[in-house]
Amino acid sequence: MPTRRRALLVLAVLVGLALLSLLVALAAGSLPVSAGDVLCALSGEKGGLAVDVIRGLRLPRALAAFACGGLLALAGALMQVLLRNPLADPYVLGISGGAAVGALSAMLAGLTLALMNLAAFAGALAAMLLVFGLAHGDSSWTRSRLLLTGVIVAAGCGAVVALILSISPDDGLRGMLFWLMGDLGQAISPWPALVVLALGLLVTLPFARELNLLARGDTLAQALGVSVGSVKHGIYLVASMLTAVAVTTAGSIGFIGLVVPHLVRLAMIRLGWGNDQRLLLPASALAGGSLLVLADTLARTVIAPQQLPVGVLTALLGVPVFLFLLGRQPNDRQ
């Protein structure tokens, strides 16, 4: 595991990269802007059209992208520990399915964007409580039962989503598809997501060492003094809330939640630092945020003026990068 100094150093570098990605997002776009415009926009001085575009459009969108990427990566890292399964992602327990049912129902009913977000959040919460209640059952809360319940609820939500898509009029389909793939164009304000991300880090970091133990099994964790039941419930609730907020802000953006914690873990293992959540959680949040900012910048510039849903780009870029890193990892089991 890393020493505290090294961990802080890594985090400082990642903060630098995050700021850099935000600057790129502010500068890139169909309207060319100068570095001076960017500085002017950030310092709050009055400026021309470019400054207004940066301050009014690009900055909120870039911040929303950062917050959503951070939320998804942090939630993914937590789910992987909770389910003790490196294949888990924030959506595996049906949160995004519930949100999709809520959002698409609202779109079908022709509600406003704000009401749609509300419906998405309500759907996510409903799925979370449903899975929690069903998996809890007679108070025995095993991993396989939680995972199965989540997968089944997600499948049910998938069916409802398919139903809504098939009965909705053609002109609404495009918006629904963009929502399902994840799109930051629909983000209203970045602040709720940013605040929740900060809160999420604040409540999970004090328990990071407990999570390290939990990743090694419930019995070991309990024998070494972790109060396993409450920590597990806590992670489930926090990870679900983070996911619900991310999905409400920008739809179900795929891949970030699964791959970013993995990439960070792969890098840490190569450095001989193992699977230490004290570094993994904040590093995943920062890396996930930066990655989504860059992906969203690409999504709105690659074939400008047309915009791509960012979820398509995260997958298109993420898959080869991940396969490359996985292939280069020495297979220790042999």
């Binding site: 060492r209 390290n212 090694r216 099994g217 019995t219 309990q222 972790v226 109060s227 293992i269 089991r333």
Partner: protein, 267 residues
């Protein structure tokens, strides 16, 4: 564990009228038993008698069905849950029968996990923790393995790593569920010796074992679980007899003596 101050000379482990059941099977009933500092206990019984279930109950990892159970004067299972769990982990250590490694990790990291109960919420492992972990690795003959990936270890090496993790935890009461699993003979002897050395230094050990000969040789006391809820506890010399072993395992066993050690072979 601040709520009730333990009596100064409370035994490390005390069971009174303890009843433990699992899946409708009686592990023990009316168990009255004390483990004092310096004692070394073996728990013997046939497969499915409930040895591991009893040990997990003694560790506070599952609740007893009836009766009182306490570790160093703190009533279980309450004292091993919630806020008291960390303080409890500084007193009793538990070696599980199975070790799992879903995520990659180095040997040193895995040993350092045992230091958790000694670290505050914001503490990181200090040089002193690393020294303790290194010493524990040396003790189980894994001295040069610190940077090895855990998932590349053999079964016996992984078992010794779990022992090192427990040594790093520095508890006073060692609850060992089949500590000799996967170990070759020389390491079986070495591990039993290092635990009995802990007992002579003032700790106590309770070990689930499968070989009555090892139990007779390394443990001074023995608890037999007959599989129907009945039990027998006492000095190993008196409890581990050919008659008792034959009844315990449901198979005729003969006692052989060599160099002052007693061994039991199927008759």
């Amino acid at each position: 564990m601040t709520a009730s101050k333990p009596a100064m000379n409370a035994p490390l482990l005390e069971a009174a009228q303890l009843a433990v059941n699992i899946g409708g099977h009686r592990v023990c009933h009316d168990l009255n038993w004390r483990v004092e500092a310096g004692e070394s206990w073996a728990i013997l019984g046939r497969n499915g008698a409930g040895k591991s279930t009893l040990l997990a109950t003694l560790a506070g990892l599952r609740a007893q069905d009836r009766g009182r159970l306490s570790i160093a004067g703190h009533a279980l299972p309450l004292a091993s849950q919630g806020a008291g769990a960390r303080a409890m982990a500084r007193v009793r250590g538990y070696l599980s029968q199975h070790q799992i490694d879903p995520f990659a990790s180095t040997v040193m990291e895995t040993v350092l996990v045992g230091r958790h109960p000694h670290l505050g919420r914001w503490d990181w492992e200090s040089a002193e923790d690393r020294r303790i972990a290194g010493a524990a690795l040396n003790e189980v003959d894994l001295g040069g393995f610190a940077e090895r990936e855990v998932q590349t270890l053999s079964g016996g090496e992984r078992q010794r790593l779990a022992v090192a993790q427990l040594l790093g935890q520095e508890p006073q009461l060692f609850l060992l569920d089949e500590p000799l699993t996967h170990l070759d003979l020389s390491h079986q002897v070495a591990v039993m010796e290092l635990f009995t050395r802990r007992a002579t230094e003032g700790a106590a050990i309770v070990a689930v074992l499968h070989d009555p000969g090892f139990a007779a040789r390394y443990c001074r006391q023995t608890l037999l679980l007959f599989g129907n809820g009945e039990w027998l506890a006492g000095p190993a010399d008196e409890v581990i007899t050919a008659t008792n072993m034959t009844r315990l395992y449901g198979h005729p066993l003969r006692e052989l003596c060599a160099d002052g050690n007693r061994w039991f072979v199927p008759g």
